[in-house]
Symmetry: C2
Subunit: 415 residues, 2 copies
């Protein structure tokens, strides 16, 4: 049939062939399962200045140490510019890795060698590299429900078989996790145990131990993403899952405590895994931005990062408190929400059968935005009664006005 | 059998099981085919200060615009620090993409929209993203022989079926390319048509046209890596393959003309491909270092990059000329080498049956280093009579002394 057509009308059939090839056959299978970020599309809608947005996941730029970074940058360039602008090692700047290792020891009692740390382009790249190193097509990855969208996207590239296990108030549902792992083994379990994105939930101390035991029993590697761990503003610091389970890969980041634009994060893993990660990192981009590594290190040498973190915590705590106070006062009492002990997000649950997509439609008309919860589920086709609110990136006036607007939308939707 | 052992000696068999899992079963198949960089291992040997190294692929740091970068950095941070340190778009800073698009038009007559440009972490990341977007396991990728090692490594992650086609003095052997593509179709052809790494070879104008025709006929996407294109110091600028073939993805980089440590490169591709690349880039690391994008753009606004490039060209030309003069004077006449019109490398061919690995052993004892040619072949097990010399990163004294030392080693090996 094609041959016939080809003989009759070469030009058209050539064009047709080109088009078929260019549309589908050309790209790798993995790109079919990878969806465009729903949040990214939402953010486009909400970028008008009149919109109060609780949708993004941005730290508050008011607390970026701009002057200190400028001083650090000048110092590095003046004192060692030719080295700072040259190619560097794949592993990353050794003094920066030493700083991170020393901080693990001081903050969490973890004995980490600098050689067990690899500097990445934010912790997002850490997830990509872990996916590369571990995942064959159809390998099982267990994630939290709801789960961090960036991790879902990064792992998706490697076409895994995702399983999600619900979060309870104190962390993962360990009974269901045990059941899921008993049915069929998994390679990786991915978790954000502190002030999770999107739910704001923090794992209890007991839950961390129980989780470690289950993963050890089933020989599953734990990927512990601690992007927000430094942003605790109530309650007590809790041990890392790594304290209980050697087979844990830690992800860390300076994005939430210094600056996300610098894209400096890290992976911390045992030597055998690290060797593979370094090969993957080298193939991916040779090494992370070296000037920025030097600037971050210089900043850390010349400033008290803990003091700076206290300022961020105080500011975010104030915003969380205000948002919760406003929700308590204005939201219908049928609407429930988490009260996170840190981080940048809280999680709202509407009455069953009320869709946050319907609320989103109303809200956009009122110039207030959030992320509907279905973005954080792997089976996102379903309508969903949850939503994520970011409180770090708004000022107090915006939080007051934004929550009032949302409350009006809720009244209309519920009654 | 395993069950029995498990009952008798649980501790040992558990350990054994853990070890088996940790050593092999755990990692993705793709990591088996990905080798550690041979060059990386060589560079470790050659980092002692007494070694004259022609092994690395470093631009000369003496020509990094350190003061100008420091001024640009200060300006960006003082004038717009809070934005420059925040998260940014996946595509990259629009004014920087506009600059690149405008330069394509001015230098190559190519009409490129800024939306067809994606900022990456050096052009290396561009190769990784192209691999992600196009390659299923066992898809065919055709590369040059010898070929750029970084591309071999980056594509290897996606487990393609590599085919290599020899380079002649004026570019790829088009007869063999035609034969290779007729036997079995390929998805990608990867080329460095200007001052190729490692051979220093530049495609002639005719060769570019012939290549484009062959790739069009077989519907193969051309990946044209122009990392060195600005470093021409003799002969005339030639059209891009993209001028002849729409289905060309261009890779570019500021690494060789401003600074590699900043890791700012780009991919230029048509909109349909670009849409997939952006999804892959977002999953990989959200976006490239934003402060560095802003610094590079500020530098480009406040300085004459073309004037700066002229300085680099003059310096590299001098080094190339000196290296060739020294080789002409001191090398045995049986030894042949390319005379590149630009870039950073030249390629030496020893008499047949003389192994550059044997030469390397002698050379290291004389404290002079290079990269044996087998690193640049996909079938690198074989002994090989070629080697790569870098001339950009040595000063004149080092080139004189280093070539004399190499000549002594050659004398010993050949006679």
């Amino acid at each position: 049939m094609f041959e016939e057509k080809h003989n009759i009308d070469t030009y058209n059939s050539m064009n047709q062939k080109q088009e078929i090839l260019s549309m589908n056959n050309r790209f790798a299978d993995r790109m079919k399962t990878t969806r465009k970020s729903f949040i990214r599309e939402i953010l486009k809608v909400t970028q008008q200045p009149e919109v109060i947005s609780f949708a993004g996941g941005l730290p508050n730029p008011g607390f970026f140490p701009v002057e200190e970074i400028a001083r650090a940058s000048t110092k590095v360039l003046v004192e060692d510019g030719r080295n700072a602008l040259q190619y560097s090692t794949t592993e990353g700047y050794l003094p920066l890795r030493e700083f991170i290792a020393e901080r693990y020891l001081r903050k969490s009692g973890l004995k980490i060698e600098p050689d067990e740390i690899l500097i990445t382009n934010g912790s997002q790249q850490g997830i990509d590299l872990i996916g590369k190193v571990f995942l064959n097509k159809a390998d099982r990855v267990v994630i939290e429900r709801p789960g961090y969208l960036g991790a879902i996207q990064a792992f998706s590239i490697f076409e895994p078989n995702f399983q999600s296990v619900p979060l309870l108030d104190d962390g993962i549902d360990t009974d269901l996790l045990e059941k899921t792992l008993s049915e069929d083994n998994a390679k990786l379990f991915y978790t954000v145990p502190n002030f999770q994105n999107p739910s704001g939930i923090t794992y209890s101390g007991q839950k961390r131990k129980d989780l470690a035991n289950i993963l050890e029993k089933h020989n599953v590697v734990c990927v512990e993403d601690n992007a927000y761990v430094e942003l605790r503003f109530s309650g007590e610091d809790l041990p890392s899952i790594r304290n209980y389970l050697d087979n844990t890969i830690l992800l860390g980041s300076f994005s939430k405590i210094i600056s996300p634009g610098l894209r400096i994060g890290w992976i911390c893993a045992g030597k055998e895994i690290m060797e593979k990660l370094i090969v993957a990192k080298q193939a991916a981009d040779l090494h992370s931005n070296y000037l920025s590594q030097r600037i971050v290190h210089q900043y850390l040498m010349d400033n008290d990062i803990d003091e700076h973190i206290l300022k961020i915590r105080a500011a975010y705590r104030k915003r969380r408190d205000l948002m919760i106070d406003m929700m308590t006062e204005y939201f219908p009492k049928e609407v429930k929400y988490t009260k996170p002990e840190g981080g940048m997000f809280l999680w709202v649950t509407l009455p069953e059968k009320v869709s946050s997509l319907d609320l989103f439609e109303l809200a956009v008309k009122e110039n207030v935005a959030f992320v509907p919860g279905n973005a954080f589920y792997i089976d996102d086709g379903s309508r969903n009664n949850t939503l994520r609110l970011n409180f770090s990136n708004s000022d107090e006036e915006q939080i007051e006005e934004g929550i009032k607007r949302l409350a009006r939308c809720l009244e209309r939707l519920l009654f």
